[in-house]
């Protein structure tokens, strides 16, 4: 007890998914009574590290110690039992159960005859919530609680388990200012009780306000750990981004034509507000920002999958019917969505069926459609994009991520769009296919297609875009022409409120 070592220690931890290294040398040391910030770009390996600690996945190699004892969790139950609590951005409560039942889910105290001790549970929860300084009715169902309250309940759960280490993965992403303050108060309380906390966030103001130590990760590797007092936001940004990005991206200058897509005053309450921008023929416009900034939602609204309350979308000067993907497709818009598995492809269907999903109405003769015509049309695009497969009737779900993305691209390019909206074009695909996708995008821009690219990968944004728009919390906060789009500037705009507003 005299010289307490670190609560949690990870060193040289690696994790590979097949040939892809998600984590090379993960390092994290959580001291008792400390709040430790873990920062890095998307894909830097933070979440992989957290998942290893939580027992969701297992490390391939490296040291993992809890209070000086080597551990390795095969399940989340093991990590919980050992005293580790992980709070996620989206808490996972049972909506129909009461707050009390949620806190004690799976380990209800029982009295005689195995009867659940409800009164005991209830009084414990009241005491817990009291300690956290929040007033939540222990008997109300979890459904309808704000995300913030749900997180508090997760934290209550963690405390009731007497967690030694509490890891919070972007807990503030969905919270308002007041809620963030309350969460921070709770976090400081836990720190003062001698627990070790880790805090993942993209918001530097929060990191600097709450944490005492900071670890930066980049590309699956540990970069640095230092006391927060001796550093600054610009320095952290440099450490996070620090690499040369240009040569990876075969950006070809394309002649820029007239405005193809114009978005005017688009609003959707609580999701995004006052979105104004335009994309010209041959231009690649990147929509940068943090996950949850509302970028995909804007794309979905433009395409008509989601509604918007005010504003309009103009294609070649003509207003587009809102709320109808069909109309958007007809007007020449293509949307390669963020979630390939859920939105981009029908995983159980064949390549041929998937590729022709959008253009099918054009392949009919009268109303008749034949497999032969579908195969002919799909073959052209599958071949053009070099989808790796044995035959066109291979099921999409059996392909690798990169190949699936090519099928999605084939599907949308087959519709010969004038405007291509592409959401996270290279998420979860290997490096080789990545640069191929980038080359294609460049080619398409060269053919006069207007491209709106949503990307959370800064190198991709800076490498590909003619113009960078930055969104933060549902609003456009900055616009940079290619020459002025530096990593620091974009990151700053994505994490800070507009200067004028402050």
């Amino acid at each position: 007890m005299n010289t307490p070592g670190p609560t949690l220690l990870l060193r040289d931890v690696s994790k590979h998914f097949g040939a892809v290294a998600a984590l090379r040398d993960g390092r994290l040391t959580l001291e008792p009574g400390s709040i430790h910030a873990l920062v890095g770009e998307n894909g830097a390996g933070k979440s992989t590290l957290i998942k290893i600690v939580a027992g969701v996945i297992q490390r391939d190699a490296g040291v993992f110690e809890l209070e000086g004892r080597p551990v390795g969790f095969k399940t989340t139950a093991e990590s919980k039992a050992a005293g580790i609590a992980v709070i996620y951005q989206e808490p996972t409560l049972f909506p129909d159960l009461s707050v009390t039942e949620n806190v004690f889910m799976g380990r209800q105290p029982v009295g005689r005859l195995g009867r659940i001790d409800r009164a005991g549970m209830r009084s414990q929860v009241i005491e817990l919530l009291d300690r956290l300084g929040v007033s939540i009715d222990p008997d109300r169902p979890a459904q309808g609680l704000s995300i913030a309250d749900q997180q508090i309940i997760e934290i209550a759960k963690a405390i009731s388990l007497d967690a030694k280490a509490v890891l919070m993965d972007e807990p503030t992403a969905a919270l308002s200012g007041v809620e963030v303050d309350r969460l921070f108060a709770v976090a400081r309380g836990l720190r003062d009780e001698g627990r070790a906390l880790a805090f993942i966030s993209h918001r530097f103001d929060e990191v600097f306000a709450l944490c005492d130590t900071i670890t930066v990760m980049r590309d699956g590797s540990y970069i640095s750990t230092q006391p927060i007092a001796g550093t600054s936001a610009p320095e952290i940004v440099r450490l996070m981004v620090g690499r040369d990005v240009k040569e990876l991206f075969p950006k070809v200058e394309a002649p820029i034509g007239q405005t193809r897509l114009k978005v005017e005053g688009l609003n959707s309450p609580g999701v995004f507000a006052d979105i104004d921008f335009e994309v010209k023929a041959g231009e690649i416009v990147a929509l940068a920002g943090l996950v949850g900034a509302g970028r995909s939602e804007v794309a979905r609204a433009i395409f008509g999958v989601d509604p918007y309350t005010t504003g309009q979308v103009l294609v070649d000067g003509r207003p587009l019917t809102p709320g109808s993907p069909k109309a958007a497709i007809k007007a020449g818009i293509a949307l390669v969505p963020e979630d390939r598995r859920q939105q981009g492809l029908v995983m159980e269907e064949t390549i041929a069926t998937n590729v022709t999903d959008v253009i099918r109405p054009k392949l009919t003769r009268g109303s008749l459609i034949t497999r032969r015509r579908e195969n002919a049309a799909a073959g052209v695009w599958a071949e053009a994009l070099e989808v790796k497969c044995a035959a066109l009737d291979a099921v999409a779900g059996t392909l690798s991520g990169g190949n699936q993305q090519k099928v999605v691209l084939a599907k949308w390019l087959a519709s010969q769009p004038k405007i291509l909206i592409i959401d996270e074009p290279t998420r979860g695909i290997d490096v080789g296919t990545k640069s191929e996708v980038h080359r294609r995008m460049s080619e398409l821009a060269g053919q006069g297609i207007a491209i709106l690219m949503i990307s959370s990968e800064l190198p991709e944004v800076l490498g590909m875009a003619d113009r960078v728009l930055v969104m933060r919390e549902g609003r456009l906060t900055a616009e940079f022409p290619r020459a002025q789009a530096t990593p620091d500037a974009v990151m700053f705009a994505a994490t800070h409120a507009k200067q004028e507003a402050a």
Binding site: F17, G18, A19, V20, A22, I57, F303, V305, P325, K326, A328, I329, L335, P337, Q342, Q343, G344, L345, V346, M347, E348, E349, T350, A352, T353, T356, D357, V358, R360, P361, T364, S367, L368, I369, T370, R371, R372, E374, N375, G379, A382, E383, E386, K388, C389, A390, A391, L392, D393, A394, V395, G397, T398, L399, S400, G401, G402, Q404, G428, D430
Partner: protein
């Protein structure tokens, strides 16, 4: 450099024969031949006539039900709609409405009932099972209420005879022609139109279908309307066949229809199935029941056998699918080793959310032959053709 891909990974005969639907067709043929050989009086025109006559409403309603179930919805109100249209037809006719007009009205009522189901399901967003259980009670209540304890008889003979005529001494009822017309229509709609492809896409992944420009709500409403309308037709058929209109007609018919559709290879989770399998499924139940009845087997035992067959087919399909998925996941993980593949292996196998799926793997609408899943002698073949990692051919 650029490579030309073949359209199919398997030869035609395999794609045509190794399907769950084909297994049902084969079973139908075997049962029919065995019954002809081994059951007295089975190989008789009268048997065929009775069988088709009794199964006609089931056959007709199974067609739209097949489409509804491929989108992942279900309509359990069809039996009650048969009852409702039956008693409404009787009521209208007894009040002096010309029979032709009364028939048109009840078909419209069927369509309206279907629209109500579809509207509640898609616009209000309620599960189709809940909605149609509700409308099942509602329609039945109205059906019984319309006529009370009375029944209407004395329909025009010209019409009632239509259900009893056979085609030139073949033993095939003339109403079969109506069924064949419906069959052609529904087969075309499901397998040879863009609309039909949308039906499968909705059943497999509503979100992806919507992102591809499929109007999912409209499609589902249309299918419910078709189910209601054909149920109305079923009501007219029963009325004419029995020559009476009563409110309890068609009681339990929905379960018979759904059982046959599932037996025919349609997954209750959607996205899987073909219309010929459904026809074979209905006929298989009909033939089996007819043969057993001729053998003197009681109705309860017939129900037990039919139920056993249904469960057996579903369990077999699920087991095959499970094995195939395990294999596919293992292969994908071993072969590609990509992040995605491991994600699948660690988090969930592709489509584990549908593991209890009855049907085979992907639906192959226009070419139903592609979907595997069939009897056990073919299991090895199916397994070997399922989850190949698909490296490009080296040529």
């Amino acid at each position: 450099m650029s490579q030309v891909y073949p359209d199919y990974g398997r030869p035609l005969w395999r794609r045509l024969l190794l399907t769950r639907e084909m297994a049902i067709v084969a079973l139908l043929i075997i049962v029919t031949l065995a019954s002809c050989a081994g059951v007295d009086y089975f190989a008789d025109k009268m048997t065929l006539y009775n069988l088709l006559r009794d199964m006609m409403a089931t056959l007709m309603i199974a067609l739209p039900m097949c489409l509804v179930m491929i989108t992942g919805d279900i309509d359990v109100s069809v039996g009650s709609m048969v009852g409702l249209t039956c008693s409404l037809l009787g009521l209208l006719y007894s009040k002096g409405v010309p029979f032709g007009l009364a028939m048109v009205i009840v078909l419209l009522v069927g369509a309206a009932g279907g629209f109500m189901n579809g509207w509640l399901v898609t616009r209000i967003g309620l599960p189709s099972l809940a909605v149609t259980i509700g409308t099942m009670a509602l329609f039945r209540g109205i059906a019984v209420g319309l006529l009370g304890t009375t029944s209407v008889t004395q329909f025009p003979k010209a019409w009632t005879d239509l259900t009893k005529l056979e085609i030139a001494g073949t033993g095939v009822p003339i109403t079969t022609l109506l069924f064949l017309a419906l069959l052609a229509g529904f087969a075309y709609l499901l397998h040879f139109t863009s609309f039909g492809r949308g039906i499968y896409a909705i059943g497999l992944n509503k979100e992806a279908a919507a992102f591809s420009g499929v109007d999912t709500a409209r499609t589902r409403i249309i299918l419910f309307v078709l189910a209601g309308t054909v149920s109305g037709l079923g009501g007219v058929y029963w009325t004419l066949l029995r020559g009476t209109a009563r409110g309890d007609i068609g009681d339990g018919l929905e379960l018979q229809v759904i059982a046959a559709v599932v037996l025919g290879g349609v997954s209750v989770f959607g996205g899987v199935g073909a219309i010929y399998g459904v026809v074979a499924g209905v006929l298989l139940i009909g033939v089996l029941a007819a043969a057993l009845r001729l053998m003197g087997v009681t109705a309860e035992v017939i129900n037990i056998i039919t139920g056993g067959l249904l469960i057996g087919s579903v369990v077999l399909a699920a087991a095959l699918k499970w094995i195939r998925e395990r294999r596919a996941t293992a292969l994908a993980t071993a072969a590609s080793g990509s992040t995605e593949a491991v994600d699948q292996a660690t988090a969930s196998a592709p489509g584990t959310d549908r593991t209890t799926d009855f049907g085979g793997q992907p639906p192959q609408p226009g070419d139903p032959s592609l979907s595997p899943g069939t009897a056990s002698p073919l299991a090895e073949e199916l397994l070997s053709s399922a989850g190949e990692p698909s490296p490009p051919n080296g040529d």
